[in-house]
């Protein structure tokens, strides 16, 4: 089976500052891949550059290809990208409170998603909108509601319904539950997974919550300092991390059953452009040596590997 998304050597820069460097990322058809890392690691920018929706001034380089789309997505013009967006790739953003047009009824916003790509004609689009709402467990009356009449969780379900309207090959979710009440997070996560499984869509799921990745994703990529530092199957990476950053992340979360103490990675994520040369993690890494001043090479395959000079799980450290 073909891979849905193939990202090669993706870089994102603003003026002369590199925000994301050399990211390789592959998502297979129907596969659910997680992208994790602390805030400021470059996860959102990676997602936005796949969709071609980077803010002004911010430029992407490298290659993004989508199965079934016969052109390069990086640098593609608006006319071509607008045909891909919402049809082949769709996205759910972090902030549901501001993601919907406050002056347009939910039904119209949903129907529009199908009308833009002419996947359905007008009367059918209205019926389909009701069906989409049903699939995210919202009543049909929601069609006539305005966004301000809905809660954050309900709005995020509408955004999800919007994103899934045209059965996209790839759904990107950027911290879709971070802004939500804990009580509704589980429901929204469940609807996301069900939504992509029902449609055989692939999922790129961005979060800094490792527990969520463990339940939602099959494979995971760890990002730090605008680079992918480790990748592999969730079970593998979470039980036997190789990169020292991944190791630190796991220790800081409660996933690690052996250590109950609340550990955090020392220091803070530097601001963009202030990451050290060589290994981007070396200013916070307890295992750093002079060797780490050189960029560590990628070890392993593209889908399972890491970039660390002194990986964990070798000796008894």
């Amino acid at each position: 089976m073909n891979d849905v998304l193939t990202v090669r050597g993706l870089s994102v820069t603003v003026r002369d500052t590199a925000l994301v460097s050399d990211v390789d990322l592959t998502v297979g058809a129907g596969e659910r891949v997680g992208l994790i890392g602390e805030s400021g690691s470059g996860k959102s920018l990676t997602a936005l550059s796949i969709l071609g929706l980077l803010p002004e001034d911010v430029r992407a380089g490298g290659s993004v290809r989508l199965d079934g789309v016969d052109h390069e997505l990086v640098g593609a013009d608006e006319r071509r990208m607008s045909r891909v967006r919402g049809r082949d790739i769709a996205m759910v953003f972090q902030e549901p409170m501001t993601a919907l047009n406050p002056t347009m009824r939910i039904g119209d916003q949903l129907a529009e998603a199908m009308l833009i790509h002419k996947t359905l004609a007008k009367p059918a689009a209205r019926t389909a909108a009701a069906d989409l709402l049903d699939r995210v467990q919202l009543p049909a009356e929601t069609l006539r509601a305005y966004p301000h009449q809905l809660s954050g969780g309900q709005r995020q379900r509408v955004v999800l319904a919007l994103a899934l309207a045209n059965d996209p090959a790839l759904l990107i979710c950027d911290e879709p539950t971070t802004a939500l009440d804990v009580t509704v997070q589980a429901l929204v996560l469940d609807l996301i997974v069900r939504g992509v499984v029902d449609r055989s869509s692939a999922l790129l799921f961005i979060t800094h919550d490792l527990a969520v990745v463990a339940t939602v994703c099959e494979r995971v990529l760890v990002m730090y300092g605008g680079r992918v530092v480790e990748a592999g199957p969730v079970a593998e990476v979470f039980t036997r991390p190789r990169h020292r950053y991944t190791e630190g992340l796991l220790a800081a979360s409660d996933l690690e059953t052996t250590s109950r103490r609340l550990t955090t990675i020392p220091g803070n994520v530097p601001p963009a452009g202030r990451f050290p040369s060589g290994c981007v993690f070396r200013t916070r890494c307890a295992h750093a040596t002079a060797l780490c001043e050189e960029t560590p090479p990628w070890t392993g395959s593209e889908t399972a590997g890491f970039a660390c000079h002194h990986p964990a799980g070798v000796g008894n450290d």
Partner: protein, 314 residues
């Protein structure tokens, strides 16, 4: 929604009452006795007192105020102390002229500002956007009467395309009406348009930064489509506010522009009233102008509710 309507109507009525008191009080404390003005400096005190009694100026001020207000409510604006002619019909005639001017000016302002402001916002980093910005900056600095004089010099005197001044009612000669309307309406509208452009620009810039516009593009809308379908109505809310405020400026502008173009509107009537010391006429015209401004702001409030559904439940 009903609550808001009642509230807005209340605000409208109260501000109308307060401003009528202010207008009346201002005219009352102004030095100069209408009877003395009418009879001249050489008239005897007895004759002046007699005329004051005839005008009803000897009564207590509250009585005079309610008498005036009662008249206004019935459409009776009283009789001029100077010309002894009923003021109501004059004001009504002149008001129609001024309304043509103001409405035409407003339309020109909008037609200029909406596209120019949008392009400036959408291309605010590009040469075309910056060039438009410079133009509108220049426009903001030009007063309406100066624009009027410039337009007369170019289009009436030099090119001879349009009449330099005058006024013909539309019913009498529609072509002449339009020809004479163009230059004064342009001198009002272009200047207001330059000001409005800047507000449209900032409203559109704000909307462009909104998350829902990114959602619209993520759905597959191109940038201008997204702005058109999802930004327009949202950007309209702040622009409508400014439009309401601009109406007051346009009315003031009309007073001067009517002078420049020799147009028999409310502005000319007001200036005539001032130079003739026709105090009641001035008082009535000012009140009508105030009423017009308050009415527009009231309508703007209602328009918000139509534009923004969030206000309907509040």
């Amino acid at each position: 929604m009903i609550l808001r309507l009642i509230e807005r109507t209340g605000v409208f009525l109260v501000s109308l009452a307060v401003s009528s008191i202010l207008v009346f009080a201002f005219m009352a404390v102004l030095p100069g006795d209408p009877a003395r003005v009418a009879l001249g400096v050489n008239a005897s005190d007895e004759a002046v007192a007699e005329l004051r009694r005839q005008f009803g100026l000897d009564r207590p001020l509250p009585t005079q105020y309610f008498d005036w207000l009662g008249g206004l409510l019935h459409g009776d604006l009283g009789t001029s102390y100077v010309s002894k002619v009923a003021i109501g019909p004059q004001v009504f005639d002149r008001l129609q002229v001024t309304l043509w001017l103001v409405v035409a000016g407003m339309i020109i302002a909008l037609v200029v500002a909406a596209p120019a402001g949008t392009v400036m916002a959408a291309r605010h980093r590009k040469i075309s956007g910056l060039a438009l910005s410079a133009f509108s900056q220049a426009g903001v600095a030009v007063p309406a009467f100066l624009a009027g004089i410039l337009l007369i010099v170019v289009f009436a005197v030099r090119l001879g395309w349009l009449p330099a001044n005058g006024w013909t009612p539309p019913a009498q000669d529609p072509t002449m009406f339009l020809k004479q309307l163009i230059l004064p309406a342009l001198s009002l509208g272009l200047v207001q348009g330059a000001v409005l452009t800047r507000y449209v620009r900032s409203a559109v810039l704000d909307v462009l930064r909104e998350d829902y516009l990114r959602t619209a593009r993520a759905k597959g809308l191109r940038p201008f489509q997204a702005l058109w379908r999802h930004g327009l109505r949202n950007a309209a809310v702040p622009v409508v506010t400014v439009l309401g405020l601009q109406l007051a400026t346009l009315l003031i502008g009309a007073v001067v522009v009517e002078r420049v173009f020799v147009i028999p509107g409310l502005g000319s009537l007001l200036l005539d009233g001032v130079s003739n010391r026709d105090l009641l006429l001035v008082q009535d015209v000012v009140m009508v102008l105030v009423l017009a401004v308050l009415l527009v702001n009231f309508l703007v409030d209602l328009l918000y509710v139509a534009l923004d559904p969030r206000l309907r439940t509040a």
